[in-house]
């Protein structure tokens, strides 16, 4: 298959949080707003004059200072973010929107304040912490909506004078949906038996949509969508099996590439910031305010294992099965960052339930933020691919 026109460009954009499109937006006087959790609605950080930047620490090699502050028994993602912040990697932020969802990441965000990390560069920089519900009841939804108002919209308005009116929110939702439509349309190609893009390429596309100002990345994504309409895949599919990749934080496309190098096409993604359900459009129902619609959307679509109510717990498993069916997956890989408090349990639980209750072979992987022991991971993935293949042959026989 011929290379995607913008593959190298997308890889370059992901090699640094402050990439060329981010620089361009900053030069235009816009505010960069950092976030690291699905509970912080990306759409609210893309109001006029602002743009969202997902917290990443590409290429981080050492987290000694962050480990000193946070201990070695915390997830590498949160430590990597803190280390990068200490290195000055997020000094261009106007604000960091945080949630009390993942405890370790929340501690990392608190260190932004305690260590005065960005404030010495930008006097008006602030960290705002919102409280997110554990359940999906009406009262929890109302609480969440109030939190979004108080800790995101009001703070942005008070500090930077950002327009947070109903009209401004509706405009932001329209623009957000336009981006979602393009990413979803690209992702739909993965349903084909012989898809014109790989899971790795899609991971790049999904990530750049989260790490770059939406209006600046959208033209490239639209062009990629056009390219895919005529892109010819190789005559026979390159993969041996198809899998759904689920789990917690995963902003490392090389991890997806490693899986695909072992013969498993990552046909669907379902992690903290995956396209499913992350790129579903926000619908404003009749009689609903824009903020209420945002709050409802992010609670309804939320697949975070932090939700404890039975509907959500069961719903998460059903959703994985649904993805496996829609994307014709032979198996499921659940990846979890070492020490992740929520996914540690969810992964173990899923490994048993998905196979026993839904008949979907499942492999669990505990990973680091940046993977170095690729040899061992390769062995695991290859063995899983071989096992799936055997099951496939047995079914066909």
């Amino acid at each position: 298959m011929k290379d995607l026109k913008y593959r190298v460009f997308f890889e370059r954009l992901l090699s640094d949080v402050k990439n060329e499109l981010v620089e361009q937006a900053l030069d235009g006087g816009r505010l960069a707003l950092g976030y690291s959790c699905y509970y912080v609605p990306e759409v609210l950080l893309n109001l006029e004059g602002c743009f969202s930047v997902r917290l990443r620490a590409p290429g981080i090699a050492d987290t000694s200072i962050a480990t000193y502050y946070m201990s070695e028994k915390t997830c590498m993602y949160s430590r990597s973010i803190l280390e990068r912040a200490i290195e000055g990697g997020f000094n261009f932020f106007a604000a960091l929107l945080s949630t009390e969802t993942c405890g370790m990441m929340h501690r990392a965000h608190e260190h932004f304040e305690m260590l005065n990390l960005v404030k010495d560069q930008n006097e008006r920089f602030f960290v705002s912490h919102l409280d997110a519900p554990f359940v999906t009841k009406d009262y929890a939804l109302r609480h969440y909506e109030r939190q979004l108002q108080k800790h995101i919209l009001d703070r942005l308005n008070d500090t930077y004078g950002v327009d947070t009116s109903e009209t401004a929110l509706r405009t932001a939702i329209e623009k957000h949906n336009a981006l979602c439509r393009v990413v979803t349309a690209i992702g739909e190609y993965r349903k084909q038996k012989n898809p014109p893009l790989t899971g790795y390429e899609f991971h790049l596309i999904e990530l750049v949509s989260e790490c770059c100002p939406h209006d600046l990345i959208l033209p490239y994504l639209e062009e990629t969508l056009e390219e895919l309409k005529t892109r010819q895949p190789d005559e026979t599919p390159w993969y041996r099996v198809r899998v759904v990749l689920a789990g917690g934080e995963n902003d490392d496309p090389d991890f997806t590439k490693l899986i695909e190098d072992c013969g498993a096409f990552v046909a669907a993604d379902r992690y903290c910031f995956g396209s499913l359900p992350g790129r579903e459009e926000i619908e404003i129902r009749e009689g609903e305010t824009a903020l209420a619609a945002v709050a409802r959307h992010y609670i309804e679509t939320n697949q975070c294992p932090r939700f404890m109510n039975p509907e959500k717990v069961q719903g998460r498993k059903r959703y994985l099965k649904q993805l496996a069916d829609e994307y014709s997956a032979d198996g499921l890989i659940i990846q979890q960052m070492k020490f992740c408090e929520y996914w540690e349990y969810e992964r173990m639980y899923c490994q048993h339930v998905m196979e026993s209750d839904y008949g979907l072979p499942c492999m669990g992987i505990e990973k680091e933020y940046i993977n170095t022991s690729t040899g061992q991971l390769r062995t695991r993935f290859q063995a899983f691919v071989e096992a799936l293949e055997t099951k496939q042959l047995a079914r066909e026989a």
């Binding site: 061992q376 695991r380 063995a383 071989e386 055997t390 047995a394």
Partner: protein
């Protein structure tokens, strides 16, 4: 006559097996691995081929499968299969009654549940550190200034077990040296080391879903003291294999080669 080869390039040893058309073992080799995986595989396969009349080298084999950590670097292999699948297949063709394997290699421990047809039903792996692996044993034997065989025999003489608390290879070695320095009976310390590894094996076996009919593969399977300790913690008798357990990966690879090559 067609011959089929399996080459298991491990982190410590490289193993090669050649099978005849009917699946009988024609030759086998075990060599210490070199830093260059391609060279290790070439030396092992060459030595193996030379044991069979009419074969001069790997190029005379009909089909070859590479496995082990260096499986991607076996230059003459038509394809590679993970060592997890190969160990399962190797053990299955040696003894089809075995339902689970604990494979203790040079750099990891694997628990593998085997399906009726010799394919992998489930597996679990400890590959984060060297604790309980072949490298661990090498370090422990070094502390006693013994060979692995002597170390194994020593542990079997123990009447009591002195627990080793450190799991890390480096710290365990220090702990052993300290215990020896205190004048504690060496055989009891050795038995403690065997028990520490057996516990790790227990976890891997249980994670993989092993219930009964279990066997050991990999170089450490020859360690009689470890076998006894595993039987003690798992409360299951470990099945002894009729073929060298260190060859299971290469044997499985050769069997895959026979099945795939035979279809060509």
């Amino acid at each position: 006559m067609n011959y089929y080869g399996g080459c298991d390039v491990g982190s410590t040893y490289t193993k090669a097996v050649i099978l005849k058309e009917d699946g009988a073992i024609a030759a086998s080799t075990i060599l210490r691995s070199k830093i260059n995986a391609a060279e290790s595989s070439r030396l092992a396969m060459q030595s193996c081929a030379e044991q069979v009349e009419g074969l001069c080298g790997p190029e005379d084999l009909t089909y070859i499968v590479g496995t082990g950590y260096g499986r991607n670097r076996v230059p003459f292999a038509q394809e590679n299969v993970s060592e997890i699948s190969c160990h399962a297949m190797g053990v299955h063709i040696t003894d089809p009654t075995v339902k689970a394997i604990i494979d203790i290699g040079g750099q990891d421990i694997k628990g593998i549940a085997v399906a009726e047809d010799g394919t992998v039903k489930n597996f679990a792996m400890n590959d984060k550190c060297a604790a309980g692996t072949g490298r661990f044993y090498e370090a422990m034997a070094r502390s006693f200034e013994m060979s692995l065989e002597e170390f194994s025999a020593l542990s079997l003489r123990a009447k009591n077990v002195i627990p080793i608390t450190a799991q890390c290879t480096v710290f365990a070695e220090s702990e052993v040296i300290a215990l020896v320095g205190e004048g504690r009976p060496p055989e009891e310390i050795a038995a403690g080391i065997q028990m520490a590894v057996a516990k790790r094996c227990f976890v891997m076996a249980k994670k993989a879903g092993a219930v009964n009919h279990i066997t050991l593969s990999g170089g450490c399977a020859k360690n009689e003291g470890l076998k006894k300790a595993i039987e003690k913690v798992l409360k299951i008798k470990v099945t002894a294999l009729s073929v060298d357990p260190q060859l299971m990966g290469a044997l499985g690879a050769a069997e895959f080669a026979r099945r795939k090559g035979g279809r060509k």
